[in-house]
């Protein structure tokens, strides 16, 4: 399609990412982008252009992100964005595949002695505007009759800051975001706890523009490929050796040594092998960026493979 052609001629995938959410999309002081969402972009670039570094990152805030994608400023929006019906149906966007199953939670200071979200009756809660979060908070407050007073901020940092200075009793966003904030932004992470309630479903994943089904397919299948690679044990370390040694027909298809699955997508047959080589499989990406051993320390939980009790169930690469 057009998108793929222009990516090839420009030699770069343009990827919309978060302005700074540790573990998902953030730049370090040297300008190097890391995170789960970022790795997705890298995998796509590796599959399409053969080089995971050929990505231009465009940091977008909540308000900018959809128009940026709609107008063609970015090729793919990989910015912890929740898939919802409205966004699918009315914004002219396509939801590719879920890369992280999340839910919205609350963070409160330990010293407030709040143990449950139901204790937040009549309290102020800091939230970033222009997110599903804001709406979920309202729904939850209404359903439970809590009368929560939102204090809404334009920018993530402002909302976090207001919480840490004590303007609000609680801070709400996706649980992953809470963990990221607590570990990266709080002075003493142990002073804050994340309440057990998750008040919404937040399937996060990359989006692309409508009207270019080939490109849509490529992004979607790169993600499924990464998932299936994990399922079948293909890793960054063993991808090269498996190319020659593997006898598993599924693995062979993923690595393009038997069938040319790439051709159907308009790519070459090595596409998935390169992606895995560049970023590792989904499990590796998760571990590296947000997993228990990373700075964020999130449990794998629902984001585990389907056969290990999680929700990650890739369509077969076949």
């Amino acid at each position: 399609g057009k998108t793929l052609d222009s990516i090839k001629s420009r030699g770069q995938v343009i990827c919309g990412v978060n302005t700074g959410l540790a573990g998902f999309g953030a730049a370090d002081s040297a300008g190097k982008w890391t995170g789960l969402d970022v790795d997705v972009c890298r995998a796509v670039a590796a599959a399409v252009l053969g080089d995971a570094e050929k990505v231009k990152y465009v940091p977008l805030n909540a308000q900018q992100r959809f128009t940026a994608l709609q107008s063609g400023e970015v090729d793919v929006l990989s910015r912890n964005t929740t898939f919802t019906l409205t966004r699918d149906a009315s914004l002219g966007l396509n939801l590719t595949a879920v890369t992280y199953y999340d839910g919205q939670g609350f963070m409160v200071p330990v010293k407030s002695k709040i143990k449950s979200a139901t204790q937040l009756k009549g309290q102020t809660v800091c939230v970033q505007s222009g997110t599903t979060t804001e709406k979920n908070l309202t729904d939850y407050s209404k359903a439970k009759g809590l009368g929560i007073k939102p204090v809404v901020f334009e920018q993530l940092e402002a909302a976090e800051n207001a919480y840490f200075t004590g303007r609000c009793i609680a801070y709400t966003t996706d649980a992953s975001g809470l963990a990221s904030t607590r570990n990266k932004v709080a002075k003493v992470p142990a002073d804050h706890i994340i309440l057990p309630e998750l008040i919404s479903k937040e399937p996060l994943g990359p989006m692309v523009r409508r009207g270019d089904d080939e490109w849509y397919a490529i992004v979607k299948w790169v993600i499924y490929g990464l998932l299936e690679a994990e399922e079948y044990g293909v890793t960054q370390a063993n991808v090269d050796s498996l190319k020659t040694s593997s006898t598993d027909p599924v693995v062979k298809r993923i690595l393009g040594t038997s069938e040319d699955t790439g051709k159907l997508l308009g790519l070459d047959k090595e596409w998935m092998a390169r992606a895995i080589k560049a970023t590792g499989n989904y499990g590796e990406i998760f571990e590296r960026n947000v997993g228990p051993k990373s700075a964020l320390g999130l449990p794998r939980g629902v984001n585990n493979q389907w056969n290990k009790g999680g929700l990650m169930y890739a369509y077969p690469v076949r």
């Binding site: 730049a27 040297a30 300008g31 990152y57 308000q63 128009t67 976090e160």
Partner: protein
Amino acid sequence: MTSTTFQPIAPRPAPVNSEGPLAWIKSNLLADWKTSLGTFVIGGLLLWLLPQAIHWALISASWSPHYEVCHAEGVGACWGVISEKYRIILFGRYPYEEQWRPLIATILLTGLLVVSCMRSFWKAWLPLLWLAVLAVFFALMYGKVFGLTQVDTDRWGGLPLTILLSSLSLVLCFPIALLVALGRRSKLPAIRSFCTIYVELIRGVPLISVLFMASFMFPLFMPQGTQIDVLVRVLVGITLFAAAYMAEVIRGGLQAIPKGQVEAAATLGLSYWQTQRMIVLPQALAMVVPGIMNNFISTFKDTSLVTIVSLYELTGALKLGVNSDANWRPYIIEGYFFIALIYFVFCFSMSRYSRWVEKQVNKSKLR
């Protein structure tokens, strides 16, 4: 009736009246009971507040770039936040090792601004100098020439961005403003009403809605696939905004030119454009230099709003640097004071300059 011949009396100097500090205090501070009361109330307040402020800001302040020091009891201002973070505040996310480039670029551009303010440099080659310096500025900032590594515009930030946005938008808005101002005084109704609508429309809305439009909506206005750097779009937004205000300032100057000047030019046979270029504009612009400076000052201040659309100019860079660092976050107020000082130094010197120009202009009106 007798009369005398004229005997000029030589002028004498005025008798010395009790000048000196005491007399000054008497007439300026203690003239009558109301004045004295004011002096005591305000003087008392100042005597009470100023030492506290000085104590906080200077005497008990900590300057060391270690946040632990600031936590100690009795420490006032924690300027350490600046010693620690000044590079990110001044240059945003520009690559650390390459920050000499924005430094030089900023000095160049500021120098050019200063030079442009001097009358003796108001020559025909000044615009060329501007072009040259801007070219060097971009070469330095963006790189990719002379073996400099490329630095994308999304990593530009801090002071260079502030200065770039304000000076470039001023330079660019000028020709637009000139045309619009002339258009608003045109005898042709269609042209006049277009210019009026433009000016009134822009002046009726806040800058941030223009910025929102530039950064969120503009891509929708363009043919598919056109990509315009967000920096450029924001620049266009600010420029169009500033041009409307500038046009009004210039129009004020045009209105102040007596009709007789145009008539005199007409009797000498000058054409419309000759009259504008050689008679009307030189006088009108000289007259409104203070207004132009004021406009520049507000544009300079207004660039701080681009932080709302996620560009990291001074304010944004400060928040970027300090908000994400839990140890320093409580001291962001010191950071704000720091950039407030930067803004103040720039704006204050510009407003002084405009006062000076005003005086010069008035002087030349007298013999």
